[in-house]
Symmetry: C2
Subunit: 394 residues, 2 copies
Amino acid sequence: MDNERIARAALSRLMEPQDAAGLALVQAAGAVDALRIATGQLAPGPALEREITELLAGIGGSTGWGGMAAALKRWAPRIPDLAPERDLATMARLGGRLIVPSDGLWPAQLADLGIHEPICLWWRGLEQQLPGASSCVALVGSRDSTSYGASVTGDLGYSLAQRGFTVVSGGAYGIDAHAHRAALAGGSGAVPTIAVMAGGVDRFYPSGNEDLLRAVCNQGAVIAEVPPGSAPTRYRFLQRNRLIAALSAVTVVVEARWRSGALNTAHHAETLGRAVGAVPGSVHSANSAGCHRLLREGGAVCVTDAAEIAELAAPSGEALTEPRTGPGAVHDGLTLEDLILLDALPLRSTSSVDKLCAVAGLGAESVRAGLGRLGLLGLAAAERGGWKRARESS
Amino acid sequence: MDNERIARAALSRLMEPQDAAGLALVQAAGAVDALRIATGQLAPGPALEREITELLAGIGGSTGWGGMAAALKRWAPRIPDLAPERDLATMARLGGRLIVPSDGLWPAQLADLGIHEPICLWWRGLEQQLPGASSCVALVGSRDSTSYGASVTGDLGYSLAQRGFTVVSGGAYGIDAHAHRAALAGGSGAVPTIAVMAGGVDRFYPSGNEDLLRAVCNQGAVIAEVPPGSAPTRYRFLQRNRLIAALSAVTVVVEARWRSGALNTAHHAETLGRAVGAVPGSVHSANSAGCHRLLREGGAVCVTDAAEIAELAAPSGEALTEPRTGPGAVHDGLTLEDLILLDALPLRSTSSVDKLCAVAGLGAESVRAGLGRLGLLGLAAAERGGWKRARESS
């Protein structure tokens, strides 16, 4: 077992997700030396300090994390608890593994997070290649979903999985659970669905979703950036959302209140330049207010079915939806004059050319030529020396 | 009664709405001479012919109307029916009038239609100034509205009228009727609602809306560009839609199928550079498919209440909606570290500073300072030498 892997396993317990100073340290010193510095075995030299300061300045100073000195104090209380070999053994016992960015199995699209790329991923499920961004769609939304949200999520998750997409969500109650369940039902490909957890993957949380998450494990993947035993705190939920967004080409918010964690996921997707879709709903439903907010304020696209989502996921033009055609109207493609003439034709009685000229406001030549065209289209019929409409054509 | 008025009254019977050759003739020769040319009393000189040809070329040649020669033939059959004085007398008897672009009562915003500005308007209702575009909102949609569409239109129409807006619609069944009715109920200002008809205003069409349209007449206005006695043909419905769009600062489509006349009104509004709003609805409702189509394809803005529509109607920034605030979460505004610390505080038992350092992954100084801040906010409480959460704050 290589040092890099063990170091990252330990660092993921030492630092909260998106600990800016910690991520800068890992980037500047590498994971192995970063762990030695973080645990006080090695002192950071002035050159390294400078590099870290520059990295931190580059990502915006006011991250609330302070510099290296504060970071070392922050990490110190957790040093006694470090036991990366034990954590890795736990994962192996659960049929899982740890992956790090240098692994072949690492989802390449996470690199788009830049310095905020996770240190490692703890992964339960089959050992298989996770799909690239263009095959992943995040379906997210409220825990307290309505029957409308449940039904739409069910349709979307099933249809997306049937089209070979991997449905990414957060394993929570409500929209998340409906998304995973529908993807498992519809999945034909290798990884129908991925659950990205805010807490450790040793526990299937929330407990009401235990069976569902076990099924996700068996067919897809359950992953987290925090090590086994970590509680799913509010902070970790918010950071977890960036992973859902980064894994997926499109993040679709199915139902969300005006304030909702799902909007946070959508904002992560926007920041990454990924597409955001929002499902419209009743203006009377508080659970759609967040979706409508995204349509108004954000760059979200209104999506109503899986085909429209697939279109967003595809490199431009590759998966254009079939142009939807309503019931074709008989008057499509008529010239203005012929349309006016058609309107002037009586339904039951017949009308002379002279009368049609006056009613339609058209010259006799236009009327005669138009009657010929409408006759060919089966819209006008000659009868007893006059003309009438051949069939109802409203 | 001046010649200009009589000429325009006659021309509006001679020509269908948006008869390009006719409009060009009126623009080039003036209404009085245009009528004399159209009725064969005066021959157009070569200079006039050239001017008309240029005007027609300027608005795009393929209008399907042909040139002047074709136009003269088109108009000829209707000449015997011309009786503008009788039409004007009819309007006077109905308590109405004819207005022409040079009148003070002419809605100035119709000039944005350019050459497609109507020749005149036949108007039933009180003689009063019609509001400018910035006070007019068009509410349009399907005839076969759902209960959802009815309810949303009722809310919007009433609230817009209460805010002093004039609700413009087409007098049809469904969304149109709900819009007029709600505006009449909510109207406090001078003109709560305007019905723009596709046929003559002598008849209240459809007959099921007769009482409603009479009420619109009594409090607002019922107008049309076609003279009394004109049937509401399909062609005239499509042309009428441009007037609804041109009168209003915003055109809102409340409910529309994938193919719907309401979308035609929205496209007129877009062409005029006016704002278009679309009300979202269930993805399962065929009656919202047209609205969602506008949100996806057109430049329509998602609107869910009257305030959002008022914002679209206002010159930028004047009527910004109040920032909507959801139920404020106690953790709003906390720093990342304090948020993590709050998550680490036990709900029932208490925890020591050392324990909190390990659980939260924070240095002792940060924990002590954070506990002080959380204590001041009433989120943390000291008890028996330890700390706990002061109240539930999920």
